[in-house]
């Protein structure tokens, strides 16, 4: 087979693969619909896709959905921002100081052994049902993966590059800017991708424990009133939120790491 027809085959395969995903989604939706229609379950146990869709439109028009989504999004973004910022700063310091790493690592490891879901009620009790406790929870959940990947990223810089920079009499700051940041970026992004996904979980956990607004609150309220279609709407909104965050990080990764082979080949 010549390379041209091989290429064509590959394109067809890629196109088919993309279609397959959509087909699979449609099939799942259809299965859900059939189950709701003929499953004999009441609507407050399993609403049909059309129930969910109408509930979605109503919540959209009333502004209810936007209000709760906005609250969750704000918590997620602020938590991500503060969690990532502190993780980067501490990660850089730890990467540079083995002594400090040894002093702090028992606390860091222990902090990871504590399930955040279990201490979320405590944090809400201490810091109130407002936005602050949610930012804290999101920040804490994001902190560790970003921290670990920052440390590994900086540590992974090959020593030969430091020799090169020092032979050129580069300053500490220049080494950071021209060497350590770009070299650590691929591993750092791995941590941020995990952090972005976890951040949504963190916000919802906080809201379920105690809050006034947010998608977690919406789920709680709707469940209490047997408004199951609304629970579905809230859950789907959370999924879309998490996917968007993941997509943004992946997009940034592609933009900043264009030099990596597997990225520019895609």
């Amino acid at each position: 087979m010549d390379s041209n027809s091989l290429l064509k085959l590959r394109q067809t395969y890629n196109r088919t693969r993309r279609w397959l995903g959509l087909v699979s989604l449609a099939a799942g939706l259809l299965a859900w619909w059939l189950a709701a229609l003929y499953g004999g379950l009441p609507a407050f146990i399993l609403p049909s896709p059309s129930d969910v869709w109408t509930r979605f439109l109503r919540a959209l028009v009333s502004g209810e959905l936007a209000r709760h989504t906005g609250a969750t999004l704000l918590e997620v973004l602020l938590g991500l921002f503060f969690g990532t910022t502190f993780a980067i700063i501490l990660g850089y310091i730890l990467a540079k100081s083995r002594v400090l790493e040894q002093i702090l690592s028992p606390y860091l490891v222990a902090s990871q052994a504590v399930p955040l879901v279990a201490i979320a009620p405590l944090l809400v009790l201490w810091f109130g049902p407002g936005i602050f406790s949610k930012i804290l929870i999101v920040g804490l959940i994001v902190f560790f993966p970003v921290l670990v990947n920052t440390v590994f990223g900086i540590r992974a810089v090959p020593p030969a590059y430091y020799d090169l920079m020092r032979s050129l009499r580069a300053s500490r700051r220049q080494i950071l800017h021209h060497l350590e940041i770009p070299a650590a970026l691929p591993i750092f992004f791995g941590g941020l991708r995990i952090g972005a996904t976890l951040s949504v979980i963190g916000a919802v956990v906080g809201e379920l424990v105690g809050a006034n607004t947010g998608l977690g609150v919406l789920i709680n309220i709707s469940r209490g009133t047997f408004d199951t279609p609304m629970v579905f709407v809230a859950v789907f909104t959370l999924i879309v939120l998490a996917l968007c965050l993941y997509g943004i990080v992946a997009w940034m990764e592609r933009k900043f790491l264009i030099w990596q082979e597997h990225i520019s080949n895609n």
Partner: protein, 251 residues
């Protein structure tokens, strides 16, 4: 050692270094003394483990000697251009951006640095590859970029640490011709570490032979082959005689 050195740019005096290893220390260099003249190409030859790379790292200012010292003609720390065994190109910078790095570190703006880098691109014969990523380059091409990067800031001293050690034999020999031509064009003071007798003779004006650890200068041989160096010279009787002397010194 030529005592009548008219114009030494570098004087190394009894350089000694011991690395701590928990067992009395690893004695890598012992009383290494030599001069390097301005625009001289000096090769440092020695068996592996003779501390020749360590010597280069001391001169580059990357590590400090345990005893002894070295002084530069200018009295201050010189501008260094260094080429390592691996090209050490930054994978997130394109070819031309890699070459520009030393100028950027000196604070030159990008546009001006780019013009300078373009000259170097032509010098090392990489026209058309300016905007390629390092991962697209062969070993020989990557090392050309590394040489261009080491030259762009007009260094007082060019330090080459087995620059062709990771290349295949054919590419290496081609790079000798290239380096010889580049040196002819730029006339830098060069110190090159190598374990190849042929490479040392073909490129340099003088060869210092270091002994097995702890390294010490065993022979200081002047290479009186005419310049520009030609490939055929490697097969002459005189080249063979010089090679014999170096071989005997290495032991």
């Amino acid at each position: 050692m030529p005592a009548s050195s008219p114009n030494p740019i570098l004087v190394a005096d009894k350089l000694t270094i011991t690395f701590p290893d928990g067992n009395g220390g690893l004695h890598a260099l012992n009383d290494v003394s030599f001069h390097v003249q301005v625009r001289e190409f000096v090769a440092v030859l020695g068996p592996s483990g003779s501390g020749k790379s360590t010597l280069l790292r001391i001169i580059a200012g990357l590590i400090a000697p345990t005893h002894g010292n070295y002084t530069f003609a200018s009295g201050q720390s010189p501008r260094i251009g260094m080429v390592f065994q691996q090209a050490n190109l930054m994978p997130w910078r394109t070819v031309i951006q890699n070459i520009m790095l030393p100028l950027e570190l000196q604070g030159m703006n990008a546009a001006e640095a780019r013009t300078h880098a373009q000259d170097l691109i032509e010098l090392v014969g990489l026209q058309g590859f300016e905007d390629n990523w390092p991962r697209d380059l062969s070993g020989g091409m990557a090392q050309r970029v590394a040489i261009a990067r080491a030259l762009i800031h007009d260094p007082d001293l060019l330090l080459l640490d087995e620059p062709f050690g990771s290349l295949d034999a054919l590419t290496r020999e081609r790079m000798w011709m290239e380096l010889s031509r580049i040196w002819q064009a730029r006339r830098k003071t060069v110190i090159m570490v190598t374990h190849s007798i042929e490479e040392a003779l073909f490129l340099s004006d003088r060869v210092l032979v270091l002994t097995q650890r702890p390294g010490n200068v065993k022979l200081d041989l002047k290479v009186d082959l005419p310049r520009p160096r030609k490939d055929e010279m490697r097969y002459t009787a005189h080249f063979g005689k010089l090679a014999g002397k170096l071989k005997d010194a290495i032991g």
